[in-house]
Symmetry: none
Subunit: 191 residues, 4 copies
Amino acid sequence: MATRRGRPRSEAVRSAVLAAAADLARHGGPGAATIDAIARRAEVSRTTIYKWWPSAAAIVLEGLLDSVRESIVRPPGSTTVQALIHHVGALNAILADATVGPLLRNVMSAAAGDPAIQAALLERWIEPRRAAVVTALRDAVAAGELDAGTDIEVVVDALVSPPYYRLVFGMPPLSDEAVTALVDTVWRGCV
Amino acid sequence: MATRRGRPRSEAVRSAVLAAAADLARHGGPGAATIDAIARRAEVSRTTIYKWWPSAAAIVLEGLLDSVRESIVRPPGSTTVQALIHHVGALNAILADATVGPLLRNVMSAAAGDPAIQAALLERWIEPRRAAVVTALRDAVAAGELDAGTDIEVVVDALVSPPYYRLVFGMPPLSDEAVTALVDTVWRGCV
Amino acid sequence: MATRRGRPRSEAVRSAVLAAAADLARHGGPGAATIDAIARRAEVSRTTIYKWWPSAAAIVLEGLLDSVRESIVRPPGSTTVQALIHHVGALNAILADATVGPLLRNVMSAAAGDPAIQAALLERWIEPRRAAVVTALRDAVAAGELDAGTDIEVVVDALVSPPYYRLVFGMPPLSDEAVTALVDTVWRGCV
Amino acid sequence: MATRRGRPRSEAVRSAVLAAAADLARHGGPGAATIDAIARRAEVSRTTIYKWWPSAAAIVLEGLLDSVRESIVRPPGSTTVQALIHHVGALNAILADATVGPLLRNVMSAAAGDPAIQAALLERWIEPRRAAVVTALRDAVAAGELDAGTDIEVVVDALVSPPYYRLVFGMPPLSDEAVTALVDTVWRGCV
DNA sequence: TTCTAATCGAGACGGTACGTCAGGTCTTCTC
DNA sequence: GAGAAGACCTGACGTACCGTCTCGATTAGAA
């Protein structure tokens, strides 16, 4: 197979850009993470950034997905409720994290005006995480723990949307007890 | 009684600005509703806009609050579950509305970078609507329908956050059946 | 004869406006003496200013003419040369004055873009002062001191333009000795 | 030799800006030659103009210095008086010129409020022209034509300030005869 | 080694929007 | 009727960032 001719893409540039964007987005909020500012801080030319990313939000999103790479895995040997508590708790912890939270908030904000960001966010952030919950619930249905008529999408919504809601509106994140109460309540309402 | 000195504020200007901002925000999304564009469309001078509003998002928010003035009221003679279904259904309908939804989405987006918008949105949009649900649930606790140990904030989160979640991530809004299922599930989990 | 109806014009307003304009023009240069700034400092409404003056420069000019009201008079019993030295010296002193100089400079600057100021400056500032010199020179011609063929306008130009020239280009003003040398030279060139 | 990096500066842009500024300043006077108007007429972006010039007056000045590049040279074999007549006549012609005069007038006007323009005007317009006259007079002193005690600066003032004076106050320019009379008078007053 | 293709950097340029300031005009109330 | 108070429009200001562009400098594999 023919290796690419020409100068290879610099990995140093990529990581410097992602780090700069994350720094700027974390502090200073959106509006701070402009392409100009990222280029200045990363000491990378604007031209180069435009060659690889379509927008500042895309950079922040890429950095976000890079930094939160490990998916939430079901603890082995856990009951369904334990698995759900673990998942919602982990999600809640990520969104409450001082590093990740503001980044995600920025990207969500940018998604309102950029269909490409919107789609990428849905496909690469939301869907994988929902899928894990859906799987757990389907397994519970298959195991007879849950009624077959349960509307799984609605249950997932009830479980995962509160952490986003509180992040978006600047409310304090859910405590661990609140997470437990949330999952318990929804679970009891299903069985 | 002291009448106001000077030329009175033009109501025509205010409504033209709000209408223009709403139009622009609905189509074109955020980024379209700039102060410049609003001024052009409303045929109002930029200076005047700056005199009365601090930002484009503030205009959109004011128009939003103006257009959705009537609060969601509990139907007389309704049971708690019926009242909750009515409330969540009404909220869901508002967020799914092709006029209001995009506007709120824009304002939520702007809130990420503007603490004033953030605070106004929380105080003038979120709190009043949460309060109605909280009241219904407290009444239910007082009537012995609900356990006194119920974490009401968590229950409210589970009920109201899904419509916002779906709006923000561009997912299809909840159907009426889904709303009913959501309320039923959460309610059964509480009692 | 019928006295004027209605509230009489406030002299306090006029003098406050003139004083404010002079203050602003002296320090801060032109660009500082805007109608807005004058109104603020004089604590007079902008409307009132617009009613009485056509522009900021007109205010400064009026204040200038007010403050330099006494014309330059020929010392009694003086020879022509003495009279000319007195006149040019007095003019030079006025233009070098820290109060009057900057004001006149501002008005000259404004005259470039405002024909009304241009005309008023010529008629009410330049002409009267030139006339005094012209009279002295005509008297000298009549007395046979000066040749009848002398181009008086040219001689006046040579005598009075240097102080303006130095003011406009920000050069140091003429010293008293320089004034004497100037008049002596021109005078000797005429006889 | 290090060649310049980056896209080279467009000479077309520079000349278009200078031409547009000159046109606007000539007709319409100062106040017409705003950065906005220059940008519109030159079809150049405002940003670019701001990158290269600090103010509209600086543009007009640069155009002025560009257009009047050739300095006034002493005609070979001329006597001192002839040289002075030539110089003052040439200066007078430049200031009376319908193209250059208004431009210089604008710049002089702007100099009143802008120390940078003031300094540039003095250094790049006034000083070089004065220097030529000073040289001619010093030569005359060295040749014994002029008394060693002559105050040369005063003589230069008397010779060159009238054309500026008449330009600034909107008086008709000196005729050639008046120029001759002026130089003759001053010269006779010196010897 | 030299050619060739790509990345990267530097910087000019045309735009759009920002938020502010001043100039003027108009409307309303008070003295 | 003079003056104050203030709303409104127009237009220019200087700045920030956008996205595009033209260059030169650099870094590799391929000829």
